[in-house]
Symmetry: C2
Subunit: 416 residues, 2 copies
């Protein structure tokens, strides 16, 4: 190492997802790469997820012992947190075996304090004293992702994709140079390359565009992107095992997005639609339909209400496929007296064009609708934000639609 | 429940071992029994081990990532502690599902502080405030056994059979009425019933006798018996799933042991013997033989040295079978210049008669040697304590010897 004494080494936070650490051989391979990186003169904090499908197995056991009722959220959190503890200790052993001193830290030991919302806790504060102390001693710290400690001294988990949030939050707390998310994809693409052969990996993307893409199905936790944006921490998304450039998410001034209005096309196939037909159009009717769904924990996404005809209207909304049957039953119960009938369709997808540049231009919606029409794709619902236009279409039309939009917005052309 | 308001309910600590909680169905079955017990008006603290062979699987993974070197003890402790966390959360869910409010507590949350000897930590202190608070709220507390927290804020484990120690220590800290150890045997027997058909389950046994029996192969952690003896906590050993009376380990005045000199016969088949032949009998020779074994972590048990003849003597000692090959190699290396040769035999067993009553009587040794001689069993080594006489014999003679001793000391006769 050629780092002069006295000059602090840059801190890098790396996160490895579940498929990257699925078995001992993969953990050992990553450990060797981590040691090589440490030799370049960086202080490394490694955040790990649970191995492979171990979280699913723990959830299954929890269901087995809980009978008809859902497992207690407090107990489930401690149970699930063990998955990341297993990976963090094995990774610390593997790094030490590969030649660099390392130690594991639980969320609690890493100083991550959260609120008490079990299953979807938010990070309230990070006391990074111990982390800094261990880094100063020349150790690589391996932090169990996805978890923290509430003021009740109970273990909490951060919800889906929580390890991404752990990584970005630690990068913020440590003033890290950047946060690197290693996963089984090698970056952020203009759209899903399995559907669109000409899809192109982005060298960089802005926080806002990434946030929309992440919310719409790209493999990143939106909360971690928000956090990175607020504190302006650059985030690299790259492949764990392939040595190719990834995508840098940042807020720098020389963003490609300035030159290109539409950054990418997000595809979400987890969409089901429920339509309440011929409901009486009177005040409070929406509340009557949606309050029971909210109480049941069903998350409603797009909502569309047609213009009223003769005092009757149709209300359509989307839910995730896993909530579909339950939401349909609930809505039928709610609406038995106030609507003609309730129908559903679970074979849908959301197709979105995303780009910060769109807020300064016009004609993007028209271009999108035109491209879909030319491709023979029927639009079932439309919703928009400042930097996104989303169409709900039949799931069977996704490949045709994605290729049509990718061409229409010239995403396969090389601009750089 | 008929417990009067204001009168504190008795606290009972129960411990369930790994084979008792090996799968979800077993956990649910135990949870129902625990709820029934709670209805009788007891405050319950449940201590659980890791499920079935999960600890072995974690150790295997640790070895896989650690290469040639042993896994770091600190990391291994956190890794292994997850096994008990999994059981404790699942058990808390199962009890709640069975109808009684419950929560899990890690060793740390249960206030168990230890020294920093990773892998074999000793409990230094228990702060039972949270446990008491949760019990007062009417909850059943399920504590992850085998683990604690050191002053370094690192997780420690208590070594082999550590969950027994957790249970007894919590019983002491809470002033519990008694500690109940549930396992896959239904009590303490006069000897191994698989070898001696007339072996009889003891209704009760004193702490000292139990300590000798436990050290000699009975399925209890000797440290937990010591702790129970010091604080005079009665310990019941009973079957998890069979509803039959177990064995009560206690120090009460009306012990059967007063009437019966020999309480039981302990059998330990994990014995190998190493003999250093014709070693020069000069000062320091024992130290030269045993220091390298101690440094290598080999635990030496019985040591016998013959009377010297012409300045030469034979030194024989026993080790566990797992240490045999290593100890033999080491001793051959050490003694290459100072003895004729080193020979070994791994097919041995220790047969002990145990009984507090023996310290007030005479003739027990003679009776033991006579019984073995009549049965045609050759004695290879002898060692004694105040309340125990141990003979090392060939492993192939164990069944014959055990039956002969059981008859000779009238252990199959019913005295009560």
């Amino acid at each position: 190492m050629t780092i002069p004494v006295g000059e602090p080494m840059p801190i890098i936070v790396q996160k490895y997802g579940g498929s990257s650490v699925a078995d001992a051989a993969k953990i050992s391979a990553i450990a060797r790469k981590i040691c090589d990186r440490a030799e370049t003169g960086a202080s490394l904090v490694i955040v790990v997820s649970a191995m492979g499908d171990s979280t699913d197995r723990l959830i299954e056991m929890a269901r087995d012992v809980s009978g008809d009722r859902p497992p207690e959220a407090r107990e489930l959190d401690t149970l699930l947190s063990t998955g990341e503890l297993v990976t963090s200790t094995l990774m610390a052993m593997a790094i030490t075996a590969a030649g660099h001193p390392a130690l594991s830290l639980s969320g609690q030991q890493a100083g991550i304090r959260t609120d008490t919302r079990h299953g979807s806790a938010r990070i309230a504060d990070i006391n990074a004293d111990r982390l800094k102390r261990e880094l100063d001693r020349g150790r690589i710290c391996v932090v169990a992702g996805f978890q923290g400690l509430a003021d009740t001294e109970d273990v909490t988990t951060l919800g889906r994709g929580g390890s991404d949030t752990t990584a970005v939050a630690l990068a913020v707390a440590l003033g890290a140079e950047r946060c690197e998310i290693y996963t089984d994809v090698d970056g952020i693409y203009t759209t899903d390359p399995r559907l669109v052969p000409s899809a192109r990996k982005l060298a960089e993307i802005g926080y806002e565009d990434m946030l929309e893409m992440a919310s719409l199905g790209a493999k990143m936790n939106p909360r971690s992107i928000e956090l990175a944006a607020v504190y302006d921490v650059p985030v690299l998304v790259a492949s764990t095992f392939e040595d190719v450039p990834g995508t840098l998410i940042h807020g720098g001034p020389h963003m490609m997005e300035i030159r290109r209005a539409v950054t990418g096309i997000a595809i979400d196939r987890d969409v089901a639609k429920i339509t309440v037909r011929a409901v009486k159009d009177r005040p409070g009717v929406s509340s009557q339909i949606f309050a029971p769904l909210s109480e049941a924990g069903v998350s409603v996404d797009v909502i569309v209400q047609n213009a009223s005809q003769e005092g009757l209207t149709d209300v359509t909304f989307t839910v995730s496929k896993s909530d579909f049957e339950r939401a349909l039953d609930l809505t039928r119960e709610t609406c038995s007296d106030m609507a003609r009938d309730v129908v559903g369709d679970s074979g849908l997808a959301k197709m979105s064009i995303v780009g910060t540049g769109m807020q300064n231009g016009t004609g993007y919606a028209a271009a999108m609708f035109g491209a879909l029409a030319n491709a023979g794709v029927n639009i079932e619902m439309i919703t928009t934000s400042e930097i996104r236009i989303t169409c709900v279409i039949a799931a069977s039309a996704v490949t045709v639609a994605a290729n049509a939009l990718h061409r229409a917005f010239e995403l396969d052309a090389v601009v750089d």
